[in-house]
Amino acid sequence: MGISLTRAAQWTMVSSSTAKLVSTPMNESLLKEILHFVEHFRSQYPQEAEHVFEEPLQWSTTLVASDFKTDYDISDSDVQSHERDSEGHPLLQLSPPTVYVRSFSQLSKLLHLAHDKKLAEVRACLEENREPLVKILGRSFASDLVIEAHDDAVSVVDRTKEEGLSKDLEVKVKLFQLFQDMDKQILDTLLKDISEQVRLNPKAVKNEVEILQVFCGGGDKGLLKSLRYTSDFEFSNGYRAPLWRQVQGDICYLVIEPCDTETLHITCSTAGIFLNGGIKQEGEENGYEQTSDTYEDLVTLLKSRSPHFAEKINQQDSAVQELSTKKEKTVNEQLQLELHTTRRNIYEPRPSGILSTCGKTEENKGHKSSEEEKKSLRQGAKSKIKAEFSASSSPGHMSSQKRKTEENKTLKSSEDEHKNLRQRAKSKTKAELSASSSPGHVSSQKLKTSAGALPGEPFSESSTESEEEEEQPYRHPETNTDLPSEYWQIQKLVKYLKDGDQIVTVHTLCAMMDFNLMQESCQMAIQDTGALKVLLNLLDTDEHKCEVKLLDCLPNLASLTPSQEEDIEVACCGALALWSCSRSTKNKKAIRKAGGIPLLGRLLKSPLQKMLIPVVGTLQECASEESYRTDIQTLGMIKDLVRNLSSDNDELQMHCASAIFKCAEDKQTRDLVRKYKGLQPLVSLLHKADNKQLLAAATGAIWKCSISQENVTKFQEYKALEILVSLLTDQPEEVLVNVVGALGEFAQIPANKAAIREFGGIKPLVKLLTSPNQALLVNVTKAVGACATNKDNMVIIDQLDGIRLVWSLLKNPSADVQSSAAWALCACTENAEDAGETARSLIGGFQLIVKLLSSTNNEVLASICAAICKIAKDEENLAILTDFGVVPSLAKLTNTTDDRLRHHLADAIAQCCMWGSNRASFGEAGAVAPLVRYLKSKEGSVQRSTAMALYQLSRNPNNCITMHEKEVVQPLIHMMGSDDEELQEAAAGCVRSIRLLYMANRNAELFTFRN
């Protein structure tokens, strides 16, 4: 966040204390990114979110006390959070208009409360806390982030280690890393934005003007009559606009007389070119406003304004146009490059693996020693493989690669010969090799870095890479260098690695890590000695101590592997090893930390199944971690996953479906699956009913995807519902859970409810209510509940004794099942003919439901309240519930701050008032006063339910008195003005009751007085 803020954000040029963020699209997207980051911080990094800031972030907020609900102490206009730090200070404090926040968790909550004002809050926060990181992490840390950011984060970690690693520091380091990731992500996005934007600079404008001036005059033959600047004075920065307009981005103003239309007054600004209100010369106050669309360049604007110009320019040598557009492009590129380098300086401590592969030399035809041949063969194979990997790049690029491979063919007589050569090269002794000054071996200095290949975006850069490779032979003259000493040292180490026991392994690994494994000579040594295999073997053994260290090396090494067929084998082994490691959470973190995700993303593009299976396997294993899911989505892996759904390999399909299953919790991912047309292949996987694992993964993916209604509509087109219903019987539980989950989502659409019945799905669903599997039960009750809202479905459910089964699930120990069953019960009770009687016939049912009111789970409580509300519509039931003490139980819950619970609780109270002396009992149990407080809630449903409950309660005089004391009248009068008729009526009724009581009281007083 640091760098994006200091370098990328555009601030107004006022004194720094009061600087505002300029409202540009770039800043908007920056703010949105930050908002997104902060909003999801609490769910993504719960532990870090608890970290207490060094200093509070403070700003003037538009939020007021009444916006805060749960978990806050509200007194007058001040608000304090319940959450406190170790010294008891609240983590959030509001004394209008300033708010103080001291943890991410509170920050996330606050943004959540801000609803549509989120962006404004983030903006205010950033504007008033110019150095948020200093406040969050403390001065020393934050300066690392901004100034020493080019250092690897690891060095900071190391340093903290030396300082003694406390828990707090650990969290800080984690936060620090998160900020860095965040920074990188934001810059990526901004870069993308910029590259799409047109941005002019004075030079480009000047050039264009100069070119056009050449074609001015000359009567009808000229393009224009005249073209001039409003001001002859040019500032040193090339601008001609007055200073105060330069701040707005204005570069200069032009007055152009076209041949056919009236004079045009034009503003050239960094944002583009447009007509203004008519600035004739410098110093005029008005006339700066924009009066036309914004155009990319002068020529486009003139073309649209002057038909004569448009006609002429097409005839004229198009050089003008070309020239101008070309200029502009350069400007853009320059800007991009700037950003690139800024970012690279910050984030790339050493050349990445992608680079080193492109730093190889081409074959040299002049020399054909055995060494040379070997080298070029390797190169040939490499370029072939690379072409495969960069499938996304243009076909032209592919063909150029092929051409090169063909060139190599002359040397590449057969595979056998190739191997021989390798063998020979290997068996050569040290002395021989150092004596033969064979060219072709690349020294370390030749490692090229380019601004193009960045670890963040390996795919998009593949074309740059290839271009560079093509030019390589011309740029680098032959070098006659020996193998560097690193080569021999690594070779020696690998030998020890093979021969030594675990103590030796530790030393060799440590020594190996001290080498720059990205360096070409080191990579060659590793390839030639088969070190990768040794390392992978080690991973398979029980050397847990070294595992993390090994994982550090592996991704580094694996990036160099797809260079030869033999090495692809090794890369596959590598992927397999990663897969087997990926099962432990600790290793998942290690893989991520070692940069394994982009690598996996790259390998995912491979066409080879034996490579894809372990890669996708690893991905789906790791997708259980939230961070991976985000990466899988943002690195564009969903597309590849969807593509491989249509592969002909069951295992691969299964892993892909499984990965989608895990990732589709996220809405964007669901949309992406639809966008890449992944829904149909998923449905077609349902036909493979014999492969239960595949079926479970496919149904799981369908379930999660169907959470988006747009996807359900698509699924209907592919007739997924019918197949899903047919899968309700004779399937293992893993499949059933997903199938039923999907049906529950499908049944949210009314038409599907009937469809499920028509396909005969109700009976198996009800049957599943007796399953002992809790996960399944949660889904089944949800599906049954959704189906029960259809009357015809309800008849069948009732016949099958479904209501009783749902009731009995309230006894299940799992809170999820309890609440899910209670929701289903609501739907059943509402739609069944004689639900009241059925309920009474169940022994112990009412007792159970009242008992559940003492649950600690808010979701259970809300669902039970909703159920009570429905059941109590039957008067006899209400009487029984009252006997079991439903009134005090409900009254006890009234102090809750959970809006969802409040809504259903108020409903239940309103309903329970209908019997006997319950109104008075609620008042005695102290339920009235807290209910009045609910009126402050912003939630419409809570207001309405509360007003109804208060109306019912107000029929008891004592309750009226309590309400009046708690100042109920004012909010009620406010609500009488609401658009919601029910709310109006309830509020008015309540006020009426209070008024009646008052009148009665006065009459009584008068009466006594008279006597």
Binding site: E162, K495, D499, Q502, H507
Partner: protein, 238 residues
């Protein structure tokens, strides 16, 4: 030793030893007594575990099998050099062995590796400890060439003051830099996977902090069970 003396003893020792509670010390004392009883004293009155018994204990309970190391571990435990590990030494040693902080462990490992006790690990000492850890290639002239080379590699990495040997400061800095180097010259700390059966432990509702307390808990669990079994048996007989 009856229950009360054990308790008073445990109370005393637990005040002097870090990382163990009184209850845990009590269990360790019992464990010690069990081991003492198993030891063949051939009539002599000894006040501690002798070398043989101690090493076989390291072998059976803690999974330490490297003979070169177990001997050194015995020497390190036996602080007063009387050739037996007394009860106090036993508990003292185990506190580092099982629950030591990184600093304590660095000190402990260094003492184990410093064969002649001159506060430095010399080339010769390293050579001695690493000998035989590389499979010897038949065609090599000097059988120890590889090891000698390895020692140089190690010195290059760990000998910060370039005096040709590892002082305690060198060792400490290297280990803090790379924790894997803690047991750089041989395994001398318990291998927890051998004794730690996580599944069994997860059935216990102890607030377990790290894998090391796991092992000890397991140890206790096993012993306490045995012990309790014995006690209850006695009660029933009465």
């Amino acid at each position: 030793m009856n229950k009360r003396t054990t308790q008073t003893l445990a109370e005393n020792i637990s005040k002097q030893v870090e990382h163990f509670s009184k209850k845990e010390v009590e269990c360790l004392i019992r464990e010690f007594n069990v081991l003492m009883a198993e030891q063949n004293n051939s009539g002599r009155a000894v006040h501690g575990l002798d070398r043989g018994k101690f090493i076989s204990t390291l072998h059976s309970i803690f999974g330490l099998t490297d003979d070169r190391m177990t001997g050194r571990v015995f020497r390190t435990f036996d602080k007063d050099n009387d050739s037996v590990v007394s009860m106090k030494e036993w508990i003292d040693g185990l506190s580092v062995f099982l629950r030591g902080t990184l600093d304590e462990k660095i000190k402990y490992c260094f003492t184990v590796y410093d064969l002649n006790g001159d506060n430095a690990i010399s080339r010769e000492e390293m050579l001695h400890m690493l000998k035989g850890r590389l499979i010897r290639q038949p065609n090599e002239e000097d059988p120890d060439e590889g090891i000698k080379d390895l020692v140089e590699i190690i010195l290059k990495k760990m000998d910060y003051d370039h005096d040709g040997k590892l002082s305690f400061e060198d060792f400490e800095k290297a280990v803090k830099d790379e924790n894997l180097l803690l047991e750089a010259f041989g395994t001398c700390l318990p291998d927890f996977r051998v004794i730690c059966n996580e599944k069994l432990l997860s059935s216990l509702n102890f607030p377990i902090k790290n894998s090391q307390s796991y092992s000890l808990l397991f140890l206790f669990f096993q012993r306490i069970e045995m012990f309790e079994g014995r006690v209850f048996q006695e009660q029933m007989e009465q």
